[in-house]
Symmetry: C2
Subunit: 611 residues, 2 copies
């Protein structure tokens, strides 16, 4: 099935929901305009739909192949990446002084979603390259930035993150890869890294690996980890490529999904490189602060993986909606007709279609809120506001990552269900989404890791300040809903449904935050509820954005159904999505709360799992 970039929805989220126009008034965006953003996203849509989306199924059926150390990507990937690079898409959201185009993250996020919706496997290469660019531009030396960033932005080279080792996954304190200092100031790395996405491939001239390793005198644990640049081909001072480094792809994993994306086992220092034994590496920043630096890259990557979740939910949703409009089966509820009706006339199919739509749209609105906060944290004129927005962004990143990726699994599963038996046949294509989606809540930190972050660093550390602030803002939206519903009019019923579910959801959010603050000295009780706490937060915050969207839609449609944009079918459909989000998704918040507040009472029982 084809994929249609939801351009109208992007416009709504950027312009109507997130205030793109106001953002572009901030310092640093003077060369941009709403019209330019529209034009860029339209061009992005054209390119992605025609060149990237058609490779998705083929990449699934012809996985990346390991051939004696080299890796052949699926048919068409190489050419497509070259076009992607030539189009300047890799630089879209990077700063102009580094060779990027300097668009806000809010805009970049739409382009990232679009690319991932078209082809998740392909998109992983640019996604990780973005992370390497962001890390080097933050913590790399001037020389490192000058040497590595421009070719990465130009798409001549690509980047990877090397964290995981067989014994060290979620727990990076167990890292063993070691870096030996050399007389010339460089290092030689020795070790094995696993699960390295696009660790080897044939789409670029060089690959820039960012690698976590230990120096000989490093303290144990996470405080003894340093960050290194290890290029596949050693880069001369003039930027030209030199000897083949001693870093090798030993094999590729045989995975459930994302077949088009090579997941490599990487060996550092096997002695086969032209440069001699040990992979030549260069320290980034100070020694032993590698994990801290990697967090820069990880935060960018975690946010982007959350957006992958939105993208996959969107893709699955589109295909389910299209199938349900075509597949004829069963009588309509109106009574016997002349023949079978499209299955989108059946209420239960509608429930599934809207739940998928609500999960995709809610996640997108949440991610946009986070992206906007990131942009304001860098561009707002007021320093205090920049600080507030940075805190908000950091609070939202684990929620975007955890909530949107778990939802992608749910949406993909519902997508199979809408297709019935046909969904289980690989040729239909929706089984691929179900397989692809399953990695999203795992890589770049499992949902549990995100939940630890939300609880430990983003709730306990600030005493719930960000969360309480959000709660106050959400209560204000609830008041607006009540006022709007009180006016009567065509959309009163929908607004009332939203308000009815928002109220207990907001209560649940406040209670969950306060319960968690109370449990800061009882970690077992708190961490038993950490993932439900993250999911509750996502349900409520995305629900808030959907409630805001509903208010915008009723304004556009008019109380009398004759508002300024009443002729545009978009707002009526969007309002339906908001109502269905409230009805089908918001009730999960009180359910999560009920599990969370059991923590202290059930911790003793739960711990019997380790008896």
């Amino acid at each position: 099935m084809g994929y249609d970039t939801p351009l109208r929805e992007y416009r709504f989220v950027l312009e109507e929901l997130s205030g793109l126009s106001a953002l572009l008034d901030c310092p640093g965006f003077q060369d941009l305009s709403v019209d330019l953003v529209r034009a860029v996203l339209e061009e992005n849509a054209r390119f992605v739909q025609s060149e990237i989306a058609p490779l998705n199924a083929a990449g699934d059926r012809s996985p990346a192949r390991w051939l004696d150390g080299a890796v052949e990507t699926p048919p068409g990937f190489r050419q497509a990446f070259s076009q992607y690079a030539q189009g300047g898409w890799q630089g879209l959201q990077h700063e102009a002084e580094l060779g990027g185009q300097g668009f806000p993250k809010l805009v970049g996020t739409a382009a990232v979603e679009n690319l991932n919706a078209a082809n998740l496997s392909f998109s992983l290469c640019p996604l990780l390259t973005d992370g390497v660019i962001e890390a080097l531009s933050t913590v790399g030396s001037e020389q490192q930035q000058a040497l590595y960033i421009p070719p990465l932005i130009e798409g001549r080279w690509t980047g990877t993150m090397n964290l995981t080792e067989p014994q060290a996954g979620s727990d990076l304190s167990l890292l063993k890869t070691r870096a030996q200092p050399q007389p010339d100031g460089s290092y030689r790395l020795f070790g094995q890294k696993i699960f390295i996405t696009f660790g080897e491939h044939d789409m670029a001239e060089n690959i820039v690996h960012l690698v976590l390793a230990r120096l000989p005198d490093a303290p144990p644990g996470v405080k003894g980890i340093s960050l290194f640049i290890v290029p596949k081909f050693i880069v001369s001072a003039d930027g030209s490529l030199g000897e083949r480094n001693d870093v090798w792809c030993a094999s590729l994993e045989h995975k459930l999904g994302i077949h088009g994306s090579p997941t490599a086992v990487m060996l550092y220092g096997s002695g086969k490189g032209e440069a001699g034994e040990g992979a030549v590496g260069y320290l980034v920043g100070e020694a032993n602060r590698g994990l801290q630096y990697m967090f820069v890259m990880m935060n960018a990557a975690r946010f982007a993986v959350g957006v992958q979740g939105v993208a996959l939910a969107e893709r699955a949703t589109q295909q389910a909606w299209a199938y349900a409009a075509e597949r004829l089966q069963g009588q309509g509820l109106e009574g016997p007709s002349k023949g079978p009706v499209p299955i989108n006339r059946h209420p239960d199919v509608q429930r599934m279609l809207w739940t998928m739509r609500a999960l995709a749209d809610g996640g997108r609105a949440l991610a946009a809120m986070a992206a906007l906060a990131r942009d304001l944290a860098h561009h707002h004129g007021n320093a205090e506001e920049r600080g507030r927005q940075q805190a908000l962004y950091e609070y939202l990143v684990p929620i975007v990552k955890g909530f949107c990726t778990e939802n992608a699994v749910e949406a993909a599963s519902l997508g199979v269900q809408v297709h019935g038996g046909m969904g289980y046949i690989e040729e239909t294509g929706v089984a691929q989404y179900y397989r692809d989606a399953r990695i999203l809540p795992i890589y770049e930190g499992t949902t549990a890791i995100q939940a630890n972050d939300l609880l430990g660093r983003k709730t306990w550390r600030d005493g719930g300040a960000v969360a309480h602030g959000l709660h106050r803002q959400m209560l204000a939206t609830l008041d607006e809903l009540a006022t709007a519903a009180g006016r009567g009019g065509t959309h009163q019923a929908g607004l009332k449904v939203i308000a009815r579910h928002m109220e207990p959801a907001l209560q649940a959010y406040a209670q969950a935050v306060d319960y968690m603050l109370d449990q800061s000295s009882a970690p077992a009780a708190a961490f038993l509820g950490s993932v439900p706490y993250l999911m509750l937060s996502g349900v409520v915050l995305a629900g808030w954005q959907m409630a805001r969207a509903a208010l915008i839609c009723t304004e556009a449609l008019g109380d009398d159904g004759r508002g300024p944009q009443a002729d545009d079918p978009f707002h009526a459909q969007k309002l339906a999505a908001c109502v269905m989000y409230a009805s089908q998704v918001l009730p999960r918040a009180p359910a999560h709360l009920a599990s969370i507040i059991d923590g202290a009472d059930v911790a003793g029982y739960a711990s019997q799992a380790s008896d």
Copy 2:
């Protein structure tokens, strides 16, 4: 990973929770005893663990293959099925007068679960054969029963169900396959059937297809469908095999999972049979009552698919628990230790492990309640009670099918998550469960079809009588919980957690039933909530059984921790599962209710999916 038949759990469910001993006092079971049942299940466990379970991963990697019309099953399947047949396992729950062993369905259900947990793909062949035996023993003529049932029970032949056609899936009124009467009283069938599980294979001498088709003068719709026996090889009056019939496997589907099970496209009447053009078929029962007859088989098969859900949840749960006990990662909550701890010490992993365990155990308890009802419906001495139990069984079948299969998908997904990145690698084996599980909420009637059945035939038709009766029984259990918790003692905290969640869950159940009864004239509003209604019913009814289990456990452990079975670690673990079910699963009931009672308010918005 190996699979361990949970024999101790089976004993608990059969003997302690379901009252096996009392059941065996019913007429017809005089030759059976609790000890014999134990011995049979132990032998079943031994056989299944050693001969069937080891073929599961191989069947996934070497799918059934189509070879010019013939089908080669995966390595070992043929020999294993022969051993299965020789062991008499196909006849375990069938009546003695037909050549079966006459065990109660309660016992047969444990054996079915065990087989499916070991190897879902393999088990589909016996599962469908069971359905054909049940259908023919109910509606076949004496001659048909004598000719077909013994070889099916002996495992020399196997059976299939042929309903679906490309244009007729959930909606069987669209069936086109036609049956032409012949002068000798037989029929010739012409048409195409799809999604025919084990429609062709190499494990048996003959295959007995039960096929839905239309007679030339049949009325349109579901009232014009008749049921036919179409054997692969025509059977002579003496039971010997004759000519190859004109029924052919045209191809096999390329599926997301259950690779070991061939899913066939079947052609009836292509003219290539030795018997000439058209597949020779024999009418079962009366003309035009085929769908009604097929429901006999479907009810048996639907229940069995629900049990498949339990089985898959059990298998995924076992593997996750084993991995979590071995994988070392992270510090324990007690503070820094000498090294990493097994991940089952982390509260969030415990949450996942127990949620999986709760879903598997809760589903098993629910299925046992249904199986017991079926046994009592056939064997209870009192006719009125038989009627009550039959109504209960019929009420429970769609819930067992829908709830347990949706839970299998959730449990398999959690199982991948517990494994982290390793879960996404196919060699680990848990990705197979995630793929296999996804068919369960689809085949033998999607969850929506089950929900239609629960709502239309099992709630509206009897005015909620069965549901109201269950609600009264559940309130009595809630009273027992309060009394037991009031006694104080070691397990008071756990019982209080259960009671705390049971109360709103029971309220939600009662309110959902009453809401649905009120909406019987507003089908859109009701059917929007039909699947949530089914899931709510499953959550609450299985939760009730888990509450009963908790009461049994506290009795066994003793209020002072020195009860009659305090030394057996089983009851303490089981009690923990019951507490965690209450904490993690029961809160879903009020959330489902909140979605359900929106029906009338949101139906107008939802219907925009078909605009």
